[in-house]
Amino acid sequence: MKNAARMEWIKLRSVRTTWWLAIMAVVSMAAAGAGVGLGYRSHTPVATAAQILDNSLGGAILAQLLLGALGVLVMTGEYGTGMIRSTFAAVPRRRRVLAAKVAVCGGAALAVGLVASFAGYLSGQLAIRGTAIPAASLGDPAILRPVLLTGVYLGATALIGVGIGTIVRHSGAAIGTLFGLMFVPVIVAGLFGESGIGVGRFFPLLMLLNSIAVTSPVPGLFAGWISALLMCGYAAVVILCGGVLLRHRDA
């Protein structure tokens, strides 16, 4: 397992796509944070610390797609190029390969997700310096929690990507499926208005915007940490499905 993980780590860092997606994820959250901060500078009435924080983590909408795509490509990039045959010839225990990818990609995406989340928070705070808007301190648990949980959410999204990539195997189809799963349920829930929230609180994007990346969850939604755990549960389910299929299919 240790050797398979070393292989996956070398593979992950030796393609440019990885770096581009990681950098773009951090940049998109930093840019959203700065944009929100600047937008609120001359806003009346004066914004609250919570308002700034909630909005400055909004870049996660884009970052989740970038890191989700990263997770997908870790798997489908190999099927698309024929690399998967080299990989499975080197490590015939396929679920060991999957486990190594989950560990390495999940760890990397969690790290990048946390950096991106802090970048969103920090650039939001920097952009409101010198105004009457109160600063949000990371010493405050209500501030630190959404910043950390957003990073966890992004890591879990990448793992959902790994799972979908294992099931679907084709880059375009897998990324399409991932994006569809992120957005379509939210649109459907929106059709039901207020009553949609009973189901909507289980949907990734709604959890992100109303429960995970906010100082206090919108009424009707789960607490942030429950939503984050749900995301990890979703990741576990798709990865397990992928693992079952991996065993029986020809490479």
Partner: protein, 241 residues
């Protein structure tokens, strides 16, 4: 030694490999001949555990491939010239595979030298010419210094110099006592490279013989091959009308 026991693979209703039983011995280059679509590549993939046989076994020294602890140290395979990520450098490709089988990094530099890719090692593999891709594939096969080598159409796309290089390499490896199993549909090339031949058509074993014995009964090895496989080709042109 490679041993196939009644190896069988179906794709839907079509039988790709049909009760194939063969022993490939060490110390010789064994050519694996057959027309296009005769099941050579499918057989190779089943030996490596990439495709699951519907029936029968493929064993390496008596053990299924999936049970080998460090497969690359036992079996080196060149599957096709595209089994890499085009965005990754040749060196990183080899380093990743080496890490998976606990092979030291110094061996990566060694095989890069053997195949002549040292100067191109930092380039992305997608920029390699077809000949360089084949060389990268051969480097992967040699990585674990394995006693068994499996090469699927290694001379495809190589220039005359590259073809001779592969031929000398394979003969040298066999002379060291290794098992070398090479598929090809190029009979003339096999006549120069192989000692023994396994001929299949439509997934069935047609002959298990030596190059000399097969050529003996006909004007040329090509004639002998075409006569042997004439009943089993799936498609055939009729020449100019």
């Amino acid at each position: 030694m490679i041993e196939l026991r009644e190896l069988t693979k179906r794709y839907g209703g079509r039988v790709a490999v049909d009760e194939l039983s063969v022993r490939v011995q060490p110390g010789a280059v064994t050519g694996f001949l057959g027309p296009n679509g005769s099941g050579k590549s499918t057989t190779m993939r089943m030996i490596l555990g990439l495709d699951a046989p519907d029936r029968g076994d493929a064993l390496i020294g008596g053990v299924p491939y999936a049970n080998l602890k460090w497969p690359l140290k036992t079996v080196g395979a060149l599957l096709d010239a595209g089994a890499f990520h085009p965005g990754r450098s040749g060196r990183a490709h080899l380093a990743a595979l080496a890490a998976s089988n606990d092979i030291p990094g110094s061996r990566v530099e060694q095989v890069l030298r053997i195949v002549g890719l040292s100067d191109a090692a930092t380039r992305r593999a997608g920029t390699y010419s077809l000949g360089m891709r084949q060389r990268l594939g051969v480097a992967v096969a040699l990585l674990g210094d394995p006693a068994v080598l499996l090469l699927d159409e290694p001379v495809n796309g190589l220039d005359p110099e590259g073809i001779r290089w592969i031929r000398d390499l394979l003969r040298g490896l066999a002379a060291e006592g290794r098992t070398v199993f090479v598929s090809s549909h190029l009979i003339a090339e096999m006549a120069l490279t192989a000692d023994r031949l396994v001929v299949i058509g439509r997934g069935r074993l047609l002959a298990e013989t030596t190059v000399a014995a097969l050529a003996a009964g006909a004007d040329s090895l090509e004639d002998a091959f075409l006569r042997l496989t004439s009943e089993t080709t799936d498609y055939r042109g009729v020449g100019t009308p």
